[in-house]
Amino acid sequence: MSLPLLVARRISPRAVVQHSRALSTTSVNSAGYWNKDWRPTDDPPANEEARRAAAKKYGMIPEDYETYANDGTGYGDYPKLPIITAESKDPHALYDFPELKRNYGEPLHVDADLYGEDRWDRTRRFVVPLHTQALMFFGVMGGTFLLFCLSEYVRIAPIRMMPKHMGTDGKKHYSFELEDVE
């Protein structure tokens, strides 16, 4: 592929569209200019009107908007989103922030810091399933520990020597040196 074509693909129409979309959403999604403006309220929205306003604030359509139960966790009107870990998102899609696989104005999960590519993949499938992994681990470690415990009580090879000659056991002990004959 020639260089001009590569350059042309680099600034493809799609990328331009993505870019302009990101720019255009700025004024639409913006619910504030300062951190306090983005702060969720203390309580979930009480009526339908407040609900619609809150959905707009988080850049969501009211049908998708759902809040956490008001049970003291303090999430207020923050939206309850499905858990989609970054690892399971499309790796080839065009993102505004490819490092985070995230688009501008996209609502974040409450625990979004747990679901980055560097953390946890919810849809991960192991070559060896987890229960087999656990079995292998505890099989080896437990087996070794069992042998260790048994070694205290089981002797396989006989001891081929007499017990230690102690000076305190009150017996007579002899060395193999011979006394000088007068």
Binding site: V154, I156, M161, M162, P163, K171, Y174, F176, L178, E179
Partner: protein, 138 residues
């Protein structure tokens, strides 16, 4: 030392030992009992009796651990004393350490020799008995 020892046979341990019972020709390594006379088979010569150099009081004052109260205890005491005297420069106690370890090594050899002697004497006894049974009984 020197008192008549009542060789009290220790009861077999209650826990599981997967081991064949001792045969007639296996010396009892648990009690260390010797059937033959200590000087038997040395052409009338006598073996030296092992002498305890460190006294009981000495060992108690140094707090020698039970497993070191053997015939090398005086070497152990020397080594401990040296370590205390020359504390930071412990390499200066190398001769003392060597003496202790050499003594322990010699002790180990004596234990193995004692076992082998007993084993051979038991075999000899068995051979003699078989011969007496087969031949004319005296």
């Amino acid at each position: 030392m020197g008192g008549v020892a009542s060789a009290e046979k220790t009861p077999p341990p209650s826990y599981l030992v997967l081991e064949k019972p001792l045969s007639n020709t296996t010396p009892d390594y648990r009690t260390g009992e010797v059937t033959a006379d200590a000087n038997y088979g040395f052409d009338g010569k006598k073996r030296k009796e092992r002498v305890m150099v460190a006294s009981d009081a000495e060992m108690q004052s140094v707090k020698v651990p039970q497993k070191f109260r053997d015939f090398c205890a005086h070497h152990y005491i020397n080594f401990e004393k040296c370590k205390k005297d020359k504390f930071p420069l412990l390499y200066r106690c190398h001769p003392e350490k060597h003496n202790l370890e050499h003594c322990q090594y010699e002790d180990y050899l004596i234990r193995m020799k004692e076992y082998e002697r007993e084993r051979r004497l038991l075999h000899r006894k068995q051979r003699k008995e078989a011969k007496n049974k087969g031949g004319d009984e005296e």
